[in-house]
């Protein structure tokens, strides 16, 4: 049940974020939409690694080393998501920097004011 809820939340976040990015005209709102969508992807990835009745992949007093393989959840998606979060932050920072440059050019953040690549 728990992974289904987490996965549904993640998918819903992806759809909400993409909807926001596709429909809004303000560049900052589009960036926010992309951030929400990437959070959704991370939630889905982490929920894939979840296994019922198991605990976090840290071998302390609760998880003896000998039967760690039977007690912990999948650590690989968590390592992947750590990477994804960091790269997501880098992408967001780049998008914000470019948004600032665009604002300097047109004094507006409305995407429909930028018509050079429109056909």
């Amino acid at each position: 049940m728990l992974p289904t809820i987490a996965m549904a939340t993640g998918f819903a976040l992806i759809l909400m974020g993409l909807y926001g990015a596709l429909t809004h005209r303000n560049i900052l709102r589009m960036i926010l939409g992309f951030t929400i969508a990437s959070t959704g992807v991370n939630v889905v990835l982490v929920s894939v690694g979840y296994m019922p009745g198991r605990t976090a992949p840290i071998m302390d007093s609760a998880v003896p080393v000998a039967d760690a393989a039977a007690r912990v959840i999948d650590p690989v998606p968590q390592a992947l998501v750590l990477t994804a979060i960091v790269i997501g932050l880098g992408v967001t920072a780049l998008m914000l920097a470019y948004a600032y440059r665009l604002f300097r050019i047109r004094h507006s953040l409305d995407i429909s004011k930028f018509t050079e690549l429109k056909w």
Binding site: A8, M51, I58, D60, L82, I85, A93, A97
Partner: protein, 238 residues
């Protein structure tokens, strides 16, 4: 304009509904595994013996997939460099107003003085204990950068030493690569953590080079995030 807008959002809704159907089939047919798959089981069984780290995720990130982490740190460095390049042309003049032209309040300034050392200490705690508890270099570095952000908010007119930040960043990156090469010479391969003794399982100074590498990653990530924040803060108001 209004009709155009509604057609646009209608098309977006249809596309997203299709994507939602695809997600639905994925989620409906999903059953969690009962057993770890082979890769994960290998990590779970051999992390303690091979790396001496308690946190399996840390062992994967720093040792088993260390090369990928080096690449990830490089991507962050590139991001910081490009942000500085893109925003460098519109930098506020020195001593000028910058984006933070509003003076910050007394409360924020005093609070920063009290909180900043604690935030920095917590960041260092998080990345030094990365092999024992949840946390690590990336999280700790982000905490360090949040301290810098507080400082930027409290004293908007202050200019930080770019030289110091870039020196911390380049030295930690260089030492990280040198430790990796030392792994080839002294142990089993690039970024092998067994160049230092593995020590007692669960102690602070254990797991070979993992605490050292994660400290370097923490400093590097903190410096990179700080330089991104600084570039964004120092832009001139349009």
């Amino acid at each position: 304009m209004t009709t155009k807008f509604t057609t646009r959002s209608f098309v977006a809704l249809v596309l997203l509904a299709l994507l939602g159907v695809a997600f639905w089939t994925l989620a409906a047919g999903y059953t969690p595994d009962a057993e770890l798959n082979r890769t994960a089981a290998y990590y779970a069984e051999n992390t303690a013996r091979e790396t001496g780290a308690q946190n399996i995720v840390t062992a994967i990130i720093v040792t088993y997939r260390g090369l990928d982490t080096l690449g990830e740190v490089t991507v962050l460095f590139l991001t910081a460099a490009i942000v500085a390049l893109v925003l460098g042309q519109s930098k506020a003049p020195r001593g000028g107003s910058g984006s933070g032209f509003l003076p910050s309040g007394e409360l924020l300034q005093t609070g920063t003085k009290m909180l900043l050392p604690i935030i920095m200490l917590f960041g260092a705690y998080v990345f030094v204990n990365g092999h024992l508890t949840p946390g690590g270099g990336f999280q700790g570095g982000a905490i360090l950068a949040s301290g810098i952000l507080l400082l930027l908010l409290a004293e908007p007119k202050r200019r930080f030493g770019h030289a110091l930040i870039s020196r911390v960043e380049s030295v930690s990156g260089l030492v990280y690569v040198l430790i990796g090469i030392a792994g080839i010479v002294l142990a089993g391969g690039f970024l092998d953590n067994r160049i230092l003794p593995l020590g007692t399982f669960g102690a602070l100074l254990s797991a070979g080079a993992i605490p050292l590498i994660y400290t370097l990653i923490g400093l590097k990530v903190g410096a990179e995030f700080s330089s991104i924040l600084e570039s964004l803060e120092e832009t001139e108001d349009a």
